[in-house]
Symmetry: D2
Subunit: 349 residues, 4 copies
């Protein structure tokens, strides 16, 4: 099978680097085009990017010339890892030019006709693509994945919501510095410190969670009807967002049933064995002090959400801790899994 050429918008950033890393040996896709800001344009990627990952830059990518962020010579499948402001301008331009834009940016996530998708959770939402004007004009479209802090939460909630119906969700996050990109958080701000604020993060978590767990409804998505409150903090962790979560259900749930719901959770990516799919999308660790970023963040190649410490909540019903890799499952891996879903569903032909 010939691989599908893909491009990366925002290729020099932390998420752009993760795309390159995860695509290095991908059986379906291959990187053929990289774009970044004007500063990088025309330079070799290896020179333009300040590579921050532990595996080396793939040699073929290092020598690739960074293109201008214009759709003219870009391939038809584009991964976008852009700052929100730039995404709002560029993503529609690429979609209009006929590209499948698989975006990690927040700019269009909540737009009525833009699917916000996690393949294990709401794969049917990709049908919204057909409502997009770009699609009708040029065949192009935009599909998005969620914010890194919503991702792990929704994966942990989805099997519970399906079975017990969520009434209330409260989540407090302790987020890794890589979520802020590079250079991102200054060391003087985080060494020995906690920053109890991440701009717009709480709003994104609250609305995206409800869209992801919402129901497709003609030309839009009806948000899931539960109440949701988030508090977001930054901590001195490199990779991995940890979240303390409390939930209340409409139906009574026993601990064993919750564990069972997580253990049985699986979706199209697992059934169809997508290349980037984790075998276990939600894993429960039965230890008193887990999950921990140090031990659990890489599980399932960084695509698994690890849950632990399920116990009763004196206010809502149940509380637990979850951990999700923020630049893999929460960013590049999420978009890649969306691309695999789109491919499987015939949207990339």
């Amino acid at each position: 099978m010939k691989k599908i050429p893909v491009g990366i918008l925002g290729a020099t950033g932390i998420v752009g680097q993760r795309f390159i890393q995860m695509l290095e040996r991908h059986p379906w896709f291959e990187v053929s085009w990289l774009a970044a800001s004007d500063r990088s344009e025309g330079r070799d990627y290896g020179d333009a990017a300040r590579w921050r990952l532990k595996t080396p830059i793939p040699a073929s990518v290092a020598k690739m010339r960074v293109s201008a962020a214009m759709p003219e010579n870009a391939p038809k499948v584009i991964f976008a890892a852009l700052d929100s402001g730039i995404a709002a301008e560029l993503e529609p331009r690429f979609a209009e030019a006929g590209c499948a834009v698989i975006s990690n940016s927040s700019a269009l996530r909540m737009a009525k006709d833009v699917p916000l998708v996690i393949p294990e959770v709401n794969p049917d939402h990709i049908k919204l693509i057909e409502c997009q004007s770009w699609r009708r004009k040029s065949g192009g479209f935009v599909v998005t994945n969620s914010n890194c802090s919503a991702m792990g939460l929704v994966l942990a909630l989805a099997p519970l919501h399906k079975r017990f119906e969520l009434e209330t969700v409260m989540a407090v996050t302790m987020q890794a510095v890589s979520g802020a990109g590079y250079p991102g958080v200054a060391s003087l701000d985080i060494l020995g410190n906690v920053i109890p604020y991440i701009a717009k993060e709480e709003e994104k978590m609250e609305e995206e969670t409800r869209k992801l767990l919402g129901t497709l409804n003609g030309a839009g998505v009806t948000l899931a009807p539960f109440k949701m409150s988030a508090q977001c903090n930054r901590v001195a962790v490199e990779d991995g967002h940890t979240e303390s979560v409390s939930v209340k259900f409409k139906k009574k749930a026993q601990a064993a049933e919750i564990l069972e719901a997580w253990a049985e959770f699986s979706g199209i990516p697992q059934v169809q064995k997508f290349p980037t799919a984790p075998e276990i999308p939600v894993r429960y660790v039965d230890a008193v002090d887990r999950p921990q970023p140090r031990f659990d963040v890489e599980f399932g190649g960084g695509m698994t959400t690890t849950v632990g410490r399920l116990r009763q909540c004196a206010v809502l019903d149940w509380k637990f801790t979850l951990l999700s890799h923020n630049t893999i499952r929460g960013a590049a891996g999420a978009a890649l899994l969306n691309a695999e879903l789109l491919k499987a569903e015939g949207y990339l032909e």
Copy 2:
């Protein structure tokens, strides 16, 4: 005025060291006796203790001989900074011998006739002393302060509870490593990590908060009737527990009223100007990303609880972040303020 001689049980630990530091220039009390485990007994304190504070050991204390932990030659006022198991055995023994035991340990906090006190919040609870059998026999008694994670929370909640009546409290903590004592948390466990578990901490927070905000009721305390749920995490911070809190009140509260309640909050320690009392027990910082351990933990000499980020909660009514110094206000300073209250009320004569 002649200073009252005081002793310290558990003098070599992190909290014991804080006692010594805070008592160095105290106008009412002076350290005259130090006790620690068998290993330290008979040695000079300067040799026995692995001093971990930034100010040097007071010279007079460094040369003091560490005594056996027995009441025979101890002074009549004892600060106790013992592990819970040892405290359960030793504190009653000292009380029985006629000592005023001002304890930071958890062993007796929830005992029916033992006051759990924050002088700004529930000073009247010290009357429980009179219900103690030790008191009747020898004049001795035990008074306790709360767990370090409950302390900042209760200071922030007290003015709100008084004015709006709490119905529900949810708190997620990000706690400093000094809370685990020394050597305490291994560096391999916390560098670049979050540990979502502290043994018995959630239980302590939930019950102590309700006892502190409860009402004295003859020979005991009726717990405050709100629901409370806590989740406790350890982060790579040296000093200062940060907490993400959500609350629901019985009476409707406007943001301005909440800020006013905090601003106006004051108690006996402020009115009577106790030596260790902070001028401002609860301070609100009007900045989008505060409080932070780096900037706020030392405010008020570590005796002030700093609050910030008051905003509406989509589930309960309001949410906010608080920060409290865990080994000062949350331990040694708490006990010291209790001692000052006891002195002011005539219990140390």
Copy 3:
């Protein structure tokens, strides 16, 4: 006595902030003018600066308007905390306009007629001022202090060089992130990491050390004739540069003599009791595992160099560890002490 009005060039940076902090209650100087980059010009300092110190912004300074970095309305005494490139352009302009420019920048440190001064070490070097063309034209001049990594080293070496004559110096540094300014070092670069490189730092250390310990020689300074090699590393420490040093002397030195040389070391700032002078410029800590940033960096208000672990070196003669506060003694405090020397010597009239 009326205070001398002073201005600060580069007032919003980390060192600029330290100047403001250290000048808050200074008996001789008062901040009357602040300048920073175009981005900050015209704004209130409190808005323009991202204040990163633990003490609050002095209220009077917070309300001060940030001026353009031009000498026209500036006071006659200027503290400069500029990046080297900008300093090379601005410092001469202010000197030419008649200002006493007391600079922390590296731009002019090694210029033949610019004194590089530590008041305890080479106060006589300020006479080079008279060789400056600015001085003759307008009365203005430039005086500099050393790089933060050279500062602690030279303070530790000066008493030894005087007594035993240095033949060889080798130093390896472990430098704090605040030395790189703000935002400076990205958290992703330093959490759990060591960066074995700081641009131009080794060269600065090597040449500045020899100029500071050199001898005034008409219109210039003859570098001290010892050999010097430096290796500079960045570590995850907030404030305080730790250095592992080995030295060889021309004259034989016993350990006791070295300790004596350090203990007796004192200079004009101590004799004349300059406001910013530490009582003890070089302190030896007699403990097997000190100095440590955690315990020793604030000693002497951050103006003392702490030395420890003196022991024989199997290659050179002696080795030891030193610690110096990089933004106080190594930057703002250094310049301030130079200003105090200039004032005492009549150069600020």
Copy 4:
């Protein structure tokens, strides 16, 4: 080929865990026996050990019963990861009972008839085994590997010493906390700090380096005749010792020749393709700010020493930075490679 059963003394510690991890899929050896302190004896390894590695405990090992540390039922090949004091007592006992004791402990490293070996550097030293009285009596023997701080240094020096003859070596280390075992360094001691002291580490580095590069001489090793001085520091890094090194040679060396010596360096493990051997024992990274623990410590499976920043030294001849994984190449991996050498040379039959 049937695998050789091996035992691990000190199996629950950090290095013991690394042994288990590295032996999990080893083609020549399999873990058949585990011993640890009395506290662990008789328990399942999975319960007894506080597993601190990122990969999970091998299932077969988790269920293995921890034996008493006595040679009676132990296999004939023993990896020892014991504290020095206990090693001094137990290692001779196992050797006397006929075991091949492949030790990571420091107890016997400098003993006249005990080989201290790095297979790429001084494989001939294993012949010292024949001088051991245990060998003659029971066939048992002890072979040791070096301290973690000496290991990376010697690998980097060996090719240079062979070609240019070392005259002088100075090394300053910045060592990871895992080198101190678990719990090891308290978080309160290292967060935001540098500790300029590791007990006995400088002495070990200085003498072991010279023994490893020394020459076999009948019944002992003549230490290499260069001068060596080490200064050892602990920093807040999890894994990987970084070292700033300066060297002087007897023969003149050009930079290109040094790089060539490193590039060409290879030994028996590479030639015979030992399972644990890194393809590249010493790798030079041509980047201005490398090696760094974050990016380089895992190279070659943690068995490669990474070198960088080669530049002239104003005191000696050349200086450079090196990085070595302290619990892999510096401990368990070192012993394992020694075992592979012993196997290849017929000592394990």
